[in-house]
């Protein structure tokens, strides 16, 4: 039978669950990780899990943007080295960051010379890049890819909010952009942990206009994606050892734990949030917690990766959440549209669906 007469639904049978969830028929393995964190993150509760902690925010460069790009580049190099491969046999690089025109990623790609696909998902980029990387491999187009993202407190503040030396008072629900970069090498051949499913999010906007209130803006998107994932895979929350959002922070965490039961799921027992874990908000004065692409990146590639290796976590659903605003839209009085992408990473290929 000629291929072009196969019905769309036949080709997709078993690969797409419902509208948003993708099931990989040959789940690729995350074969190595790297997490580079800034000084403040290095003083936080997860410091032991990071591969490199910077002594200062400049990382030897003369601008923060260059420092951030260097962090991303070094994270990729580190992850590639740990995978036993070299730059020349990593097929593709998926990366993104918060800066205008994703310069951190593009300039790192310039140095790395790996065929590059730039992504923008704001703080959802870690999950977005893993989704895309897994798709590339499961689709038979690549043997190994690297998925990376970065953020930097100083470069983000300067672009989105205030110059650093300006005397402003942060509101109690503001979050602190993480200075960090994380990279994961995902390959066709490996013994896990496996990326088994990905759920692609829709953009949701519940009308929050305050750029300081990211947690509240992003929570509905996270709820929507988790709900879609659980409904479409048929899994219960307890299937996972950990359902973790990227950077909802203290406020977003309270909201999601309140909204999920309304969708029919109680995730309380297995839920955590990278933004709430990365800083000690009392000691480090980070108000509602960490945020930024680097937040999910260093927690996933540092804490979660190591805990999965040790067998303390075996099945994790990472939902990285992004706020898709720009300074322009804020000045134009727009509210903040948000998105959340989910990846399921499991030590053994799961029994459920």
């Amino acid at each position: 039978m000629r291929k072009k007469f196969l019905l769309g639904s036949d080709r997709m049978a078993g690969k797409r669950l419902g509208k948003q969830t993708l099931k990989f028929s040959s789940p690729p393995s995350v074969i190595s990780n790297a997490a580079i964190a800034g000084p403040k993150e290095g003083e936080g509760p997860l410091s032991q899990y990071f591969d490199l902690i910077l002594t200062d925010d400049y990382f030897g460069e003369d601008s923060w943007e260059k420092a951030e790009s260097k962090m991303l580049k070094e994270a990729v190099k580190s992850a590639v080295k740990a995978s036993g491969r070299s730059n020349t046999n990593i097929d593709f690089m998926f990366a993104g960051d918060l800066l205008n025109q994703i310069i951190s990623s593009s300039f790192a790609a310039r140095e790395l010379q790996i065929p590059y696909i730039g992504l923008y998902g704001a703080c959802s980029t870690m999950a977005e890049s893993l989704c895309m990387g897994a798709l590339m491999i499961d689709g038979g187009f690549a043997e190994a890819v690297v998925c990376a993202t970065s953020s930097h407190f100083c470069s983000a503040e300067r672009q989105y909010r205030f110059p650093l030396e300006q005397g402003v008072q942060r509101s109690p629900f503001t979050q602190w952009t993480v200075t960090g970069a994380g990279a994961a090498v995902v390959a066709e051949a490996g013994t896990g942990p496996y990326i088994t499913h990905a759920t692609i999010g829709k953009v949701l906007d519940f009308g929050i206009k305050d750029a300081n209130n990211m947690g509240a803006a992003m929570a509905p998107a996270a709820v929507d994606t988790i709900t879609a994932h659980l409904n479409e895979t048929g899994r219960k929350p307890e299937y996972y050892d950990l359902i973790i959002t990227g950077d909802l922070g203290k406020v977003g965490k309270a909201i999601i734990l309140d909204m999920m039961p309304k969708e029919g799921f109680d995730i309380t027992k297995v839920y955590n949030d990278c933004g709430s874990m990365i800083f000690d908000s009392e000691k480090q004065d980070t108000h509602a917690g960490g945020s930024g692409c680097g937040c999910a990146a260093v927690v996933l590639n540092g804490y979660i990766a190591k805990e999965m290796k040790r067998g303390n976590i075996n099945k994790v659903l990472l939902i990285a959440t992004g706020a898709l605003l720009s300074p322009t839209t804020t000045w134009q009085g727009e509210s903040i549209p948000c998105i959340a992408h989910a990846v399921a990473i499991e030590n053994a290929i799961g029994v459920g669906v």
């Binding site: 110059p163 030396e165 309304k262 029919g264």
Partner: protein, 148 residues
């Protein structure tokens, strides 16, 4: 997801989950720091007067000195720490105006001295000057029309 909420409903829903600013503490801090900064200005004013300068000169000397103070404290990286504690107490006085000019100027040095330092100095001060000067011109015109 099943839950559907309008923007207004969502705003109301999250209200009790949002931590509130420490209103009283912030007001007290603003009052004390703002008051102290004004006292520094008063001291400079009195000193200038004692040297025999007239009222206009005293105003200019005080303004320029306070601006210098704000600029210097911003440069050495202290003003933002004061601001974190004092809020409006450090934003409202003229030292805060200086801070709002110096901090972006320092920040954007990497983008060069023309488009970085030179242009960015006015991102926050610009509106203040535009509206203040325009308002004063209007007042002047009205005064003129009312026949002094």
């Amino acid at each position: 997801m099943k839950t559907k909420m309008s923007s207004k409903q969502y705003e109301k829903y999250i209200k009790d989950k949002l931590p509130k600013p420490a209103y009283l503490k912030n007001c007290i801090a603003a009052f004390i720091v703002g008051g102290l900064i004004c006292d520094v200005a008063q001291f400079i004013s009195n000193t200038a007067k004692s040297y025999g300068y007239n009222q206009e000169a005293v105003s200019s000397i005080t303004a320029a000195s306070m601006v210098f103070l704000g600029a210097f404290l911003t440069g050495i990286g202290i003003y933002d720490r004061i601001g974190k504690f004092a809020g409006a107490g450090s934003i409202v006085p003229i030292t805060g105006f200086a801070n709002s000019m110096v901090s972006p100027a320092m920040e954007f040095k990497r983008e060069g001295f023309v488009f970085g330092v030179g242009a960015k100095m006015f991102i926050l001060a610009g509106p203040v000057l535009v509206y203040g000067i325009s308002a004063s011109i209007l007042i002047g015109i009205i005064r003129y029309l009312l026949g002094k």
